[in-house]
Symmetry: none
Subunit: 257 residues, 2 copies
């Protein structure tokens, strides 16, 4: 179980991986905490070698120095995500058309797939599209729609309609939470859920990505039943939960390490 502070610090590191830089004001507003707390957080994270402080904020490090203290726990999630991404990347074959849902785990997948040959990418995530453009000669489609700040994605009815014009091989779908008991994959808002369902409709195979933290929280809107997706790729922290699930659902899960 992560404390509130650890959770916040993990989110800071995550945020930094996307943006490369965050200023202190942004952090105080996003987490609704004082500058003193932000400074303490950044101080600890710098101490742990997870970022570098600057005047007024912090920047991402390109290489993560692994340390066996509580730094390890924070890096853990990142490592897990990379592991999940590696497994998913292995499921994609040359020539595939891949639809990437906005989200940090899907972003990791994009990083792994960038440069692979003869792939076609579609995504509604701003950072994912930007990441894909780092290598020339890729075939990339961006989903149009209304920009939303929370996960830096394009969504809404325009996005849904746009997505429905495609027919893709693989969907990499982000889940905000997974309720194994009720067999449901959920997300934070009806708008997100609606876009997600459109994505599922146009995809031959649905690959859901979710690190272990997604299994112990709940979120508002139902996206799909677990039994209706192809596979859910997660990390080893979810093992006990999956073992307790009924046989029928259990075979849907793939654990990455």
């Amino acid at each position: 179980m992560l404390t509130q502070a650890e959770d916040r610090q993990a989110k800071i590191v995550e945020l930094l991986r996307e943006r490369n830089f965050v200023d202190i004001r942004t952090l105080t507003e996003r987490f609704d905490i004082s500058v003193a707390t932000v400074r303490r957080d950044l101080g600890e994270l710098e101490e742990a070698g997870l970022l570098r402080r600057t005047h007024g904020g912090a920047v991402n490090l390109n290489q993560v120095a692994l340390d066996a203290t509580n730094a390890a726990r924070l890096v853990w999630k990142q490592t897990e995500k990379a592991a999940i991404a590696a497994v998913v990347a292995g499921m994609v074959v040359d020539g595939d058309t891949v639809l990437l849902d906005a989200g940090t785990t899907a972003l990791e997948v994009a990083k792994k797939l960038t440069g692979r040959s003869r792939l076609t990418f579609i995504s509604n995530g701003l950072d994912i599209v930007a990441e894909l453009t780092r290598v020339d000669g890729q075939s990339i489609y961006s989903v149009g729609g209304e920009y939303t700040e929370t996960n830096r994605s394009f969504r809404g009815p325009l996005a849904e309609q746009f997505i429905r014009q495609f027919n893709v091989d693989k969907l990499i779908l982000n889940a905000a939470s997974i309720d194994v008991d009720r067999g449901l994959i959920c997300t934070v808002s009806p708008v997100n859920a609606s876009v997600a369902r459109a994505m599922i409709e146009v995809s031959r195979r649905v690959i859901v990505v979710a690190d272990h933290s997604k299994f112990t929280k709940s979120s508002l809107s139902v996206v799909a039943k677990i039994e209706d997706v192809g596979v859910i790729v997660t990390d080893s922290g979810t093992k006990s939960i999956i073992d307790a699930a009924p046989e029928k659902l259990r075979k849907k899960f793939v654990i990455a390490n």
Copy 2:
């Protein structure tokens, strides 16, 4: 030919791509220049969208790596473009819906408009959308479509169809070349031209932006007649060309300085 300053600025961008962050002291020592010059360099490079300044230094942006000469070229003509952008920004009133065509000049306009109240933005330019997201709470729509490397935009039939669903107040249209003799606004490819025409169709007022270099070259595809657009905003380098134009066309031009 690169001047010493341009060379230095290109090196700064290069350095930033390696390290993600450089502080001002490092730069003063490496290039043996004063902090004042470093600040000026960083200021210009930020204007050009090549980095983001922080207190005490600068951070890399998540974008495609531009080679050094390309970076220097972006900084070039910055003043003209900024002047054009300022004039265009003045034409936009609060509450407007603004459609921004991909291109560096339109990007300048976006920078000027970011943070203005009650505006709604639509753009097919990746960097423009990214720029707009820097301020929270804006209403932003991204045009979906196939990504193209040349001007980092989304285009093609999907983009056209997407655009046709809107009805906007002002279009900021980028021109690859303007032929005053024949009275034509042109762009580099039929695909671009087709998207541009879709944009024109859905816009109440068309504002074309073009620095003086656009008047002495020619490009493949016709977008529109000069007489059919609302206004063309350019810089003072175009004065002699415009003075030679027939009365009817001349009144279409606005010169920024």
